[in-house]
């Protein structure tokens, strides 16, 4: 199969690389570009571990054909904060005990970020609906939901300033 050129923006940086048309976005991000923060839990869109934000929406990158990312803007966990300036979700996930094994965490945070990018006052139910596609086997979800609520408050406070 002939490889094709894929161009897209990853965490704000323009990427141009050769991919096999049968590659999925998660393969490109993890294997070709070495950003292993995005995890692969099932490969079939059933667990959300590979969630990234594509053009503002959360998607399962394991069932997005790489070629469909052409010209898209893709955000992964590596792009949303730095160790000096973490994203509020990263801070609250840490401080509210929302992280145990950490394998679902990047996808969970990306799902939550897609929500908060458009809504700084989500209800508990909206948060649950948002992360229902992200399986977490460790936490029982409660602390994750609390962390998302707390991050929304932080973001709102900094916006109001």
């Amino acid at each position: 199969m002939q490889k094709k050129i894929l161009k897209f923006k990853l965490n704000g940086e323009l990427m141009e690389l050769l991919v096999s048309p049968s590659d999925t976005l998660v393969d490109v991000v993890r294997d070709k570009l070495g950003l292993t923060g995005t995890k692969k839990g099932c490969g079939k869109g059933e667990c959300g571990a590979c969630t990234v934000i594509m053009n503002g929406q959360s998607v399962n990158s394991c069932i997005v054909p790489a070629m469909q990312a052409m010209d898209a803007e893709v955000e992964t966990i590596e792009g949303i904060g730095t160790s000096d300036k973490m994203h509020p979700l990263q801070e609250t996930f840490i401080d509210y005990g929302a992280i145990q094994c950490g394998f679902c965490t990047p996808g969970m945070i990306m799902s939550a970020k897609a929500l908060l990018d458009g809504n700084l006052s989500p209800s508990r139910l909206q948060i649950k609906e948002t992360i229902a596609g992200n399986i977490c086997r460790c936490t029982g979800y409660v602390k994750i939901e609390q962390a998302v609520l707390a991050a929304a408050d932080k973001l709102k406070a900094s916006k109001d300033k």
Partner: protein
């Protein structure tokens, strides 16, 4: 699997005419999963997801026209859909997970023709029809006739589903959609059921009922609908009328539920739906 990206609908139809066996890829939530499970292995697929001309929600002469590339999440959130077909918005909100709803399209859901497809019963009670277009021309097919079996449709090689449309609901009409799954999200329906009725002082003038996951394709409960016509939603006989509604269906037993349970749930969900209509007509 090679992925080819046509630039517009015309090109897509021409390419499809040249290679009618190629797969068509929209959101990929079904095709990619099947491909990864080695269920299918098309050598070439056309990705149509970027074709903006197939991504629209329009109100036209009393009908709601929806492009096949509109995602479930867009439909669930659309004010137009919520106003003219709230039961469709509800059905779309119950699909998979947010990530799946963000990618999975209404056209994909119809062409996949899963017996459990969540939008299909809703669109059937809305009297939807689909437009099938090819390089040679286009035709309109009622949704009831579009799906012929599990995974089977009347879509011919070279044809693309390019629109879904249905009459906007009237002020006198009320609707209901309910999905029963094994869990509250990311579940395939055990049974799903859609209702649309015309009421006059809580009396059922007209009603159509469709269920999914209880037969090879969507099942319409015509006999039960006929029996319900003319009855008031306040009558104590409702339960008796609907209790055996499942007899009109032809479910199978699978890992999610038995045939028997599915049959019984048809009546239960229908009864729940009628109660909901009653509340809607009262409110």
């Amino acid at each position: 699997m090679d992925v080819i990206t046509p630039q517009n609908l015309q090109e897509a139809l021409e390419e499809l005419a040249k290679d009618p066996c190629a797969g068509v890829l929209a959101g990929g939530t079904d095709l990619l999963v099947k491909w990864k499970s080695n269920t299918i292995n098309p050598p070439r697929v056309f990705t149509i997801l970027g074709l903006q001309e197939l991504n629209f929600i329009r109100e036209e002469e009393g009908r709601l026209c929806i492009g096949p590339l509109v995602t479930h999440q867009d439909l669930a959130e659309s004010a137009v859909v919520q106003r003219h077909a709230p039961l469709l918005a509800k059905a779309c909100a119950q699909v998979g997970s947010l990530q799946i709803r963000n990618r999975g399209t209404i056209g994909g859901n119809l062409v996949t023709a899963s017996p459990a497809g969540d939008t299909i019963p809703a669109l059937v009670v809305l009297n939807a029809s689909v437009v099938l277009q090819s390089a040679q021309g286009e035709r309109q097919v009622p949704l009831r006739e579009f799906i012929t079996g599990p995974g089977k449709t009347v879509l011919q090689p070279g044809e693309l589903l390019t629109a879904v449309s249905f009459p906007c609901m009237e002020a006198t009409e009320v609707g209901f959609y309910r999905k029963l799954g094994q869990r509250q999200a990311m579940a395939i329906s055990i049974v799903n059921l859609a209702l649309k009725a015309t009421l006059e002082n809580a009396v059922i003038k007209d009603i159509s009922i469709a269920c999914g996951s209880v037969g090879p394709t969507v099942v319409e409960l015509k006999r039960t609908a006929n029996r319900l016509k003319g009855h008031s939603l306040d009558t104590s006989e409702l339960r008796n009328i609907v209790v055996n509604a499942g007899d009109e269906t032809n479910p199978i037993s699978d890992i999610r539920a038995s045939e028997e349970y599915r049959r019984q749930m048809v009546g239960e969900l229908l009864y729940e739906g009628l109660q909901s209509l009653r509340r809607q007509s009262a409110g």
